[in-house]
Amino acid sequence: MAAPEQAPPPPEGSKPLSALLNGIAQAAYYGNADITEELLHGQLYPEAAPEEFRALRAKMSGLLQSIASADMDLNQLEAFLTAQTKKQGGITAEQAAALAKFWKHHRAKIHESLVSRSRRGSVLRSLSWRVDLKAQARHLEQLHTPVAIVEMELGKDGQGPELLCLELDEAKLSQVLRRLSEVEESMALLTQAS
């Protein structure tokens, strides 16, 4: 039987709370199902009573979820955490500091994880290509026509990869470039407007 997975060890000199937040993120956002509540309890807060730990974990999870869901920037985060320290049954200043530090380091990664969770349909996994000279052709003028052979790997969550292999001559390639330029123009307008 494999050894049970270890919770990430708390870095030197930091509180178990940072490690707890890390553990929560591992399970909730990074897809690490091995980081269980029991594991975290045993590793990080062994002296705490089970209900006490459960309450702490639930509170921290809830706060992290609110912060991640709103993808808070530093201003929003500060306002949010300050409010939390002021309210009844809220958090301590120390806990607020730990949360702030954690979010600063993990914001981008957690947001990315939430974004990929929201993607429906296939995504482009990889693209490779080469240029061939058509060696055989029906009509003489097609001989030595260069074509691009493009191979795309598409994927959908939970499904195997789908390979798409296409041939494009110069004309078709121009068509593709025209279309992709249209996308770029639209993108420029979008960033201008925002």
């Binding site: 993607r119 296939s122 482009l124 240029v131 260069p146 296409l166 041939e167 068509q175 979008l190």
Partner: protein
Amino acid sequence: AADKINLIPQDFFAELCEQIIQHLNHKIPGVNTAELCQRIQTSGIELNVGDLSKIANIVSFLFSTAARNHLSTEELITTLGNAVSALPKHAVQVIRHVWNEQGKSISESEDAGNMATVGQFVDLKWKLGVAMSSDACRSLKYPYVMVTLTVADPSGQITDKSFEMTIPQFKNFFRQFKEMAAVLETV
């Protein structure tokens, strides 16, 4: 699926055979079964794309075999009778007519085994979107590009393949195609 041929009205079947012959003549990249099926369904006929595709494959195989063996119209009809039992009379008529008119041209421009596993690019459609919010995250604000490629696969069937890209992925995608074009020019 062969018996489903009964369901297809003559004019639609004629259109299908026309497209198949044109594809075999390399005049069009493929047969747009999805589009044709849509119109057939709109006229009240219950036929799904899967069945229509199978029928298209059968007819395509029939025509290309006939072309390879340089069959005359009468020989084709005889072969047809042996291969597919109880074909509706109007279907036989259509096949006879289409082969009479265009069968010879396939024989002349025969492609010696186009063994490509490569599809032909037909069209690219795109959509630029920003995912605002989801059940997992209220503030997503995630811009993405959705591309739909229309492709004619080696058997001639036209299909759409859609996929999503992040903005950095799209930029890389665009850059790769520009590189291809640059290489194509120099070759």
